[in-house]
């Protein structure tokens, strides 16, 4: 197992836990916490899988993903979106902007690992 995951999330202890479990499984993990510069960081890091929180300082995950889908260089990026809101319209919004998977907090480590494995599968 291996590959590159970029985690964009503003909750430090969630970042630490996800980074730990993914690193333990052989993933290379980079993290970022600010919504405003998120698109630039994704372009620079070019990850295999992006884990993206919806509510970020400065910019929402929906807007970030919309920009990524509009850029040919990142349009095909595999994205797992994390949110504390699990209502149907949040899921619909995520689907509209082109999310690959959607996960509602509180999720388990096993669910995150499984999602990343699925998204990185060829």
């Amino acid at each position: 197992m291996g590959g590159h995951v970029l985690l964009i999330e503003d909750e430090p202890n969630i970042i630490e836990a996800i980074r730990f479990i993914l690193s333990r499984e052989g993933w290379r993990v980079h993290t970022h916490s600010d919504g405003r510069s998120a698109v630039d960081v994704v372009r620079e890091r070019a990850p295999d899988v992006l884990i993206l929180d919806v509510m970020l300082p400065g910019r929402s995950g929906y807007d970030i993903l919309r920009d990524l889908r509009g850029d040919p260089a990142t349009a095909g990026l595999k994205v797992l979106m994390l949110t504390a809101r699990g209502q149907n319209r949040d899921r619909e919004m995520a689907e509209q902007v082109g999310v690959n998977m959607f996960m509602t907090k509180p999720f388990s480590n096993a669910e995150v690992l499984e999602a990343v494995r699925t998204l990185s599968a060829p």
Partner: protein, 432 residues
């Protein structure tokens, strides 16, 4: 009009509810259809054997026709039936039910009002859960913290090597996150409890304001005497929610400005000379007709020759003020009859429309209605005006040669057959 002079209207209402043609009823009781027509429009008094015969043919007690049940009570019962049409309430016997069992009818009407208020509270709370930014931020914070605790705890509890330094770090994270969760929970409970003490559960701010205006009779005596709106707002609005207090203040500000521009004494003198036509009063007093209508609606009943009702709507048609008449109700919730001249006025701004009308399937009337749509405030360069429409209803009134249009309150409880403006089916028996 006194209750016993509305016997004809009650006969008409009952006959229509039974689907009985006027000519058939007239023939059954041995009078001409034209004479029955006069009776039904309260232009001939009726009593004695003829009343008994008509009551017998209509299947009701004579007293029910001569005395009737309260219009407001009947309207409430109709609304209760419209909430649950599948229950099969016998709408054609609603007057009889209210007349024979007034206590039970009152209980049913009040229960319906309470249920409606509770339903609106649920809607308001649902809206709040969805849109309250503080609540949303608190819940997001709690869920994020729970997620962090769960992830850290899983790492420590599940099989797999975790070196001592990482173990210590995750223990510390769990400790910090649990403290943060406790703080967030406490703050959320405090927020909800504090809100509970100020929030009344009567529905939307507009409904709170409507209820207050009903309670004070749509008249504020202190403002007539020049009191400051801020003081009156503090007294009247103490029990309202903050948003309803804002709306109350806006209403009181306009009321005070109207009262200063058009004092009650001057208006009374003008009404004595000109009658209740807002166009003529506007000319005589030099005020805009919408202001005249608002001032007429604020006069005590004793100061006007006929009862005065008033409805105001914004350009979307939403009612923002309602002062109904006993025999011309106005819907408390939802949309009114689209045939009301109030709505026609919105498509013909600045024109004062006048119409004779009666409330379909109801007693009383006929009424005279005047409606006008005017821009709010002064014009601004480059800005489209925002229109507001006013409709003054007076009556019972002599409508002269004007044809009387039959209008409803709202489609669901309107008995008019084949109405071209019908928005939804009626729930009344025997009607399309």
């Amino acid at each position: 009009m006194a209750r016993d002079t509305l016997t004809g209207s009650r006969i008409r209402e009952r006959r229509i509810a039974l689907g009985l043609r006027q000519a058939a009823l007239a023939q059954a009781v041995g009078i001409s259809a034209s004479y029955l027509n006069l009776i039904e429009h309260n232009r001939r008094r009726i009593g004695g054997k003829l009343l008994v015969a008509i009551a017998q043919r209509l299947g009701v007690e004579p007293a029910l026709l001569s005395e009737g049940a309260g219009a407001a009570l009947i309207a409430s019962l109709r609304e209760a039936a419209s909430d649950l049409p599948q229950a099969g309430a016998e709408l054609d016997r609603i007057d009889e039910f209210a007349g024979r069992f007034p206590g039970w009818a009152q209980l049913l009407a009040q229960s319906r009002t309470r249920i409606a208020a509770l339903e609106r509270s649920v809607d308001a709370l649902t809206d709040r859960l969805t849109h309250d930014p503080h609540l949303a931020a608190s819940l997001h914070e709690m869920l994020s913290t729970v997620t962090a605790i769960r992830s850290s705890a899983s790492i420590l509890a599940e099989p797999g090597e975790v070196d001592p330094e990482w173990q210590a770090r995750f223990h510390r994270n769990i400790y910090e996150d649990s403290a943060r969760l406790a703080d967030t929970s406490r703050a959320l409970v405090a927020y909800l409890e504090a809100d509970e003490t100020t929030e009344t559960a009567t529905g939307t701010p507009q409904e709170e304001l409507d209820a207050l205006q009903d309670r004070i009779g749509h008249r504020v005596a202190e403002l007539e005497d020049g009191a400051a709106p801020v003081e009156v707002a503090a007294r009247l609005g103490a029990a309202l929610t903050p948003l309803a207090q804002q709306m109350l203040r806006a209403w009181l500000d306009r009321y005070a400005a109207d009262a200063a521009a058009l004092p009650a004494a001057a208006l009374r003198r003008a009404v004595a000379a000109q009658g209740l036509d807002p166009g003529r009063l506007s000319q005589a007093l030099g005020c805009d007709p919408a202001q005249v209508m608002r001032r007429l609606a604020a006069l005590p009943d004793a100061d006007v020759p006929q009862a005065v009702g008033l409805a105001i709507c914004d350009a979307s048609g939403a009612l923002t003020f309602r002062k109904p008449l006993p025999e011309f109700p106005m819907p408390r919730f939802g949309a009114a009859c689209p045939l009301w001249p109030l709505y026609q006025a919105l498509s013909r701004p600045h024109v004062i429309l006048a119409q004779a009308l009666s409330a379909a399937g109801r007693q009383g009337g006929p009424f005279r209605a005047y409606a006008v749509a005017l821009p709010c405030g002064l014009p601004e360069t480059g800005c489209e005006p925002r229109y507001q429409a006013h409709m003054l209803v007076t009556g019972p009134a002599d409508t002269g040669a004007l044809p009387v249009a039959e209008l409803g309150v709202s489609c669901r409880i309107c008995p008019r057959r084949d109405c071209p403006a019908r928005r939804e089916p009626t729930i009344l028996a025997g009607t399309a």
